[in-house]
């Protein structure tokens, strides 16, 4: 393949896999369609914060849309922001917070673009009350490789609207979008953190916290036996005490080099997790915390993915449907498999998704418990584990999240997203991704 030698290599946030593609930066919404369309497929890319290969192409042309970074309009009376698709959530916060407006939904990093947030129909700690990001995007502009422009809403070009939300960038280039912001009077979050042991305790905490805006739990996915499924449940609401809404500072820390991969092993992670769990002495703790450390603890260290070394990391995220009764067998099996593998990492979170329905056809979240964790790439051992986890997910009727996947087998993807062929009808004929090519391959 000639592209291998002439095109630069790209990696996503997980740094696995690596692919070669050409790149065309877009600065203006009128820059697409390209004056000289390439033969190989194209794919829009924003900040490249997806973990696996859904933002990569092997041998095609990436449309780097970060340059579409202008605001178009803002209504201070109702918080409706219209901006180009390369604007990041960080830029929206810098703009909105001093004016008393916050993101309707935010993931664990603010360094993603609006276009990427729509394409992956991202979710956050308030999924159980607010649904996905796509639930708060009433309108966006989509340009196809043919030059056809669409304005998409729930009623206008409805199929393209639904296919594009969660459509992994495959339906065309999102050029601009409206985002409905939510009001805040303070930067602070009223946070409770409560230690728990065992999934029953976690589920009980989730149920009793349903009325709160944000819930999530850190879980020790290395501990076994008596300590199995121990963790810290965090829940919070925006503070209602008005205070001065200052803009955020810039991140100061950066991971300057790749750490040697052997630093991330069962011993170090186990010790870290024990220390983290023990750090909170009391069973529960309450306090006011700034939104930055509450939502984006890792954004304060730029390039934190280098901690996993050059081999990179694999991310796994799935959701399981609720099983009748208290005991969630599938979810428990999943956690046991992770603990038994000894490959789990410090960065594991669980949450229960709610029932708010996304307009997105291929949207990932569904009601039930979800887990997200990452582990270092250790060759076949890690691949065996992801396959085992995918098997358990499939066995119990759950599904995995494309934005965090580098390994899902075609049979699994096609079981998790039975609507994939219906979705494929809306894909721009000139677009594809390494992920899409992988999961729709025969066999």
């Amino acid at each position: 393949m000639p592209a291998k030698t002439t095109s630069p290599a790209f990696e996503s946030w997980g740094r696995y896999p690596r692919h070669h593609a050409d790149v065309v930066p877009l600065y203006w919404t009128s820059d697409f369609p390209l004056p000289a369309p390439p033969q190989a497929p194209m794919l829009p890319v924003g900040m490249g914060r997806s973990y696996g290969d859904s933002c990569l192409l092997d041998g095609g042309t990436l449309l780097a849309a970060r340059g579409l970074d202008r605001f178009i309009s803002f209504n201070p009376a109702n918080g409706l922001l219209c901006c180009e698709a390369g604007v990041t959530l960080a830029e929206i916060l810098d703009f909105g917070v001093p004016r008393g407006w916050f993101l309707p939904v935010t993931p664990g990093t603010k360094f993603v673009t609006v276009g990427g947030a729509i394409a992956n129909d991202i979710h956050g700690k308030n999924h159980h009350v607010a649904g996905t990001f796509g639930c708060h995007v009433p309108r966006f502009g989509l340009v196809r490789s043919t030059g056809q422009k669409y304005e998409c809403t729930a009623t206008q070009n409805q199929s393209l609207y639904e296919a594009t939300i969660g459509g992994m960038g495959l339906t065309g280039l999102i050029t601009w979008a409206e985002v409905q912001l939510r009001p805040v009077v303070s930067r602070k979050i009223k946070q409770d953190s409560i230690k728990f042991t065992g999934l029953n305790e976690f589920f009980a905490l989730s149920r009793e916290s349903q009325h709160l805006e944000y819930t999530v739990a850190w879980i020790d996915c290395v501990a076994t036996g008596r300590n199995f499924a121990r963790g810290i449940f965090m829940r919070g609401d925006h503070s209602e005490q008005p205070e001065e809404l200052k803009p955020s500072g810039k991140p100061r820390l950066t991971m300057p080099v790749d750490l040697p991969a052997f630093l991330m092993n069962k011993g170090t992670i186990g010790a870290f997790n024990t220390a983290y769990y023990a750090k909170q002495f009391a069973k529960s703790k309450t306090g006011l915390i700034d939104y930055e450390p509450f939502f984006y603890p890792l954004d304060s260290v730029l390039h934190w993915n280098r901690a996993y070394g050059k081999q990179g990391l694999l991310q796994f995220q799935n959701v399981m449907p609720w099983e009748p009764g208290e005991y969630q067998e599938g979810f428990t099996q999943l956690l046991k498999a992770i603990a038994a593998s000894g490959l789990g990492s410090f960065l594991a979170v669980i949450k229960t998704f709610g029932t708010v329905k996304s307009p997105g056809m291929m949207s990932f979240p569904a009601p039930g418990p979800m887990i997200a964790l990452d582990f270092p790439v250790r060759g076949e051992r890690s691949f065996d584990l992801t396959e085992r986890l995918a098997d358990i997910t499939a066995e119990y009727g759950g599904k995995m999240y494309p934005a965090k996947d580098a390994r899902m087998a075609p049979r699994h993807f096609q079981q998790f997203y039975p609507q994939w062929q219906e979705f494929a009808r809306y894909i721009d004929p000139a677009f594809s991704s390494a992920f899409w090519q992988r999961v729709t391959a025969l066999g």
């Binding site: 930066p25 600065y27 009128s30 490249g48 780097a64 178009i72 803002f74 703009f95």
Partner: protein, 253 residues
């Protein structure tokens, strides 16, 4: 009468307002008192930039769509701009082309166009603006040149020559306008990163337009004459300028 300079500037004229560096500079100058007058060739792009500045909180944004190569239109455009703004605190000249060096080697008229856009149109604009600022007894004329003007290299010497000519013009203009309280700032950026480098660890010589814009505004605030952005280009160019011509000419540059 020389009045004291204001920072941040409130009445801002931007020529070539849709260039990446100009956009970064104007965003950093947004305040509730900022009044911009923007000039560029493309109406759609200029409108997008103007909307962005207004949403971010600028007081007022006016614009004219024109091709700055057409020097005969400059006087009228500038008198409209200054009457809208009322005065000029800062004029930023950010238009320019890199041009096609290979084509310019074959065809003089290509070279002439590069010189026309980068040098002659700037001379025309600055002649008018310098007289205006002299008469108001204040103002900053900030002009984007390039490190490429410090020494001609075979890979872009036509572009480099246009910037070298510009540098000499600015040096003389500064010498003339200083006594009137007018700041003439020569800006020499090095490599500036684009969205093209989003996925890859950047070469350490690359700077973002935001970073370059911060350097420019710091130089405006400190009333500097010549600024390299980022700063490390000053020693790099000092070394490049010090290489004897008999060695320089043999290198592949």
């Amino acid at each position: 009468m020389v009045s004291s300079p204001v920072y941040p500037p409130n009445r801002i004229l931007v020529l070539g307002a849709t260039s990446a560096i100009a956009m970064a500079v104007t965003r950093q100058l947004v305040t509730p008192a900022a009044h911009f007058f923007l000039v560029a060739r493309s109406k759609d792009k200029l409108t997008a930039v103007a909307q962005d500045l207004l949403v971010r909180g600028a007081l007022r944004v006016d614009m004219i769509v024109t091709d700055l190569d057409e020097t005969q239109a400059h006087a009228q455009m500038l008198s409209v701009a200054t009457s809208q703004l009322g005065a000029i605190d800062l004029a930023l000249l950010a238009h320019g082309v890199l041009g096609d060096q290979a084509a310019a080697e074959r065809d003089y008229f290509v070279a002439e166009q590069i010189l026309g856009t980068n040098f002659l149109s700037a001379v025309s604009l600055l002649t008018w603006l310098a007289n205006y600022c002299e008469s108001q007894g204040r103002g900053t004329l900030a002009v984007i040149s390039s490190v490429a003007g410090d020494r001609g290299r075979k890979s872009n010497y036509v572009y480099g020559a246009s910037k070298a000519a510009l540098n000499a013009f600015l040096s003389g203009l500064r010498n003339r306008c200083d006594r009137a309280g007018v700041q003439v700032l020569t800006i020499k950026p090095g490599f500036v990163a684009t969205p093209m480098t989003v996925h890859v660890p950047k070469n350490r010589l690359f700077a973002t337009p935001e970073h370059v814009a911060r350097g420019i505004l710091k130089a405006v605030r400190k009333r500097k004459d010549v600024v390299y952005v980022p700063w490390f280009w000053r020693p790099i160019m000092a070394i490049i300028k010090a290489v004897p011509e008999r060695i320089f000419k043999t290198k592949n540059l």
